[in-house]
Amino acid sequence: MSSAILLENVTKKFKDFTAVDDLSFEVKAGDIYGFLGPNGSGKSTTLRMIMSLIKPDSGAVQLFGQSLRDNRHTIMKKIGCIIEKPDFYSYLSAKENISLFASVHQLNYTKKQYEELFELVGLKGREHDKVKNYSHGMKQRLGLAQTLIHDPELIILDEPNTGLDPQGILDLRHLILSLNKERGKTILFSSHILSEVQAICTNMIVINKGKTVVQGRVDDLLSQENLTVKLEVVDPMACNEKLQDTKWMALLESREEKLFVFKMGKTEIPGMIDYLTVNKIAIERIDYRNQLEDYFLKITHN
């Protein structure tokens, strides 16, 4: 698989502050990458360098095997992006904003094509409204329309689900997956909603303090076998009694009043619930922390 993005030893300083420090990573074409890092880790600076909004002090940024510095024009035709938050000209309508972008890309969209685009991002019927009347979530959707209008090979989305309602987040997830599966788009996706990253991405890159902490396939990096499962029951004595001599007792890590904490594989959870239900143990609450959250906190705190 060819590489869509290749960063080699990229460094960017703002006065005395090193935002990105000798950063290297690769994004292979055709995959969905999650780009993660705590606040101030250098994510936005990195994405801005990929989009040529910020110039690196040293190192090389290559896209589609070409140097960004020498081939910006060709490269930018193949990229669509939302950086930080989508900002538009508030005194223009949504369609006018998008057509400004289309005209620079030398696209002659027909009325029908515009309608299809606005339908795709869930803004059909609102395309003639001025952007100043749009909510943040609607602007995010419009940002997606702007990202997709020129049918880019690489899509970079920085916090695209900020401000979206639950239906919007679900729509976005389906859109990203279909763009990747049906149209072969490479997607670099940054978000603080780690469950979304885990649900969407095939690969992930985690950076902290401007350096790559980890990079690899999500399946390889996240084990499904070691979840922290918290179970809260109405009658802890009865629960403790029923769990004795079962395989789950061996997985019990701690117990405090009504709360039982297990370390177990994700596939074992339904079996334990069935067992407790059959034995008339009333469950008040059961949850397990998202694996990616655990993993993310572990590696970024180290």
Binding site: F14, R48, M51, S52, L53, I54, K55, R72, H73, T74, M76, K77, I79, C81, I83, E84, K85, P86, D87, F88, Y89, S90, Y91, L92, E96, N97, L100, F101, S103, V104, H105, Q106, Q146
Partner: protein, 282 residues
């Protein structure tokens, strides 16, 4: 070229659709109509007080209070306001987009930063040109329609000059051309400062501060100031007045035009150089 045309068209569309654009046209129209109304009402009385002592010295064809004189007065008056109106739009060209975040929208298109700056600068120049067209229509054409055409009694530093009505149209043409060059310098300065700053107020205030300081320096005939005056663009911005002198100081006017032109080139070059290297962090 197609790409540049598209960027320029977009810039023009944005300029036209922004409410602040029309403030300039409104202000010029209002000032012209207000002064025309005042001169229509009280002009003859005021002028007879001023020109009473010259009445037996000069022969003037037509009325002293005519369209040419009104246009001359309006141009003198608007020399302060016009740069402010131009600064109001051009000082915001790039800094406004940086402040609102739309600069990211613009710079993630294939168009180069150089093309974007030049397109924005050109849109600023086109706006400036349109302001002058409006000024020309109201100050000259409508004034002539109301007050008639006659010889121009031009007051300048050398004294009083009478410009004959049949010798004046080319002078107005050249005066508006110099006014365009002068305001082009302001537009270019606005574009340059707009590239350097991340909010739209500071460039506008800075342009006005520069014009005020330079104008004050130009007002005093002190040896220190005399040395720097030839290098200040404000010194040359008023060279249009020399078109209404006899004999015509053609060399001085031409050198002023060249200096204004080089100011435009310098400000634009700095804008392109700076903007190409600027990190967009907003």
């Amino acid at each position: 070229m197609k790409e540049f045309t598209a960027v320029l068209r977009n810039e023009m569309l944005k300029t036209i659709r922004r409410p602040r654009t029309f403030i300039g046209f409104g202000v010029i129209t209002f000032i012209c109509l207000m002064l025309q109304g005042a001169f229509y009402q009280d002009g003859k009385e005021i002028l007879s007080t001023v020109t009473g002592q010259f009445e037996n010295v000069f022969t003037i064809q037509g009325h002293i209070l005519n369209g040419n004189l009104i246009c001359y007065i309006l141009l003198q008056t608007l020399i302060v306001q016009m740069p402010l109106l131009v600064a109001f739009v051009t000082g915001d060209l790039i800094s406004g987009e940086t402040a609102s975040g739309t600069i990211r929208f613009l710079l993630t298109t294939p168009a180069s930063r150089g093309k974007i700056v030049v397109a924005k600068w050109l849109s600023g120049l086109i706006y400036t040109f349109l302001l002058l067209v409006v000024l020309g229509i109201f100050a000259l054409i409508i004034s002539r329609a109301i007050f008639g055409v006659g010889d121009l009694m031009a007051m300048n530093s050398e004294g009083l000059t009478i410009i004959r009505a049949d010798d004046i149209n080319w002078r107005w043409g050249c005066a508006f051309l110099i006014a365009f060059l002068s305001l082009g310098v302001v537009a270019s300065l606005g574009t340059m400062l707009s590239c350097m700053m991340d909010n739209s107020i500071t460039p506008i205030v800075t342009i006005m501060a520069v014009i005020i300081i330079f104008t004050i320096i130009g007002l005093f005939d002190m040896p220190t100031f005399e040395m720097i005056k030839p290098f200040l663009f404000t010194t040359h911005m008023i060279s249009w007045r020399s078109l209404f002198e006899e004999p015509l100081p053609a060399k001085t006017i031409l050198s002023s035009c060249v200096i204004l032109f080089f100011h435009i080139v310098a400000f634009l070059s700095i804008s392109i150089y700076y903007f190409k290297r600027k990190d967009i962090t907003t």
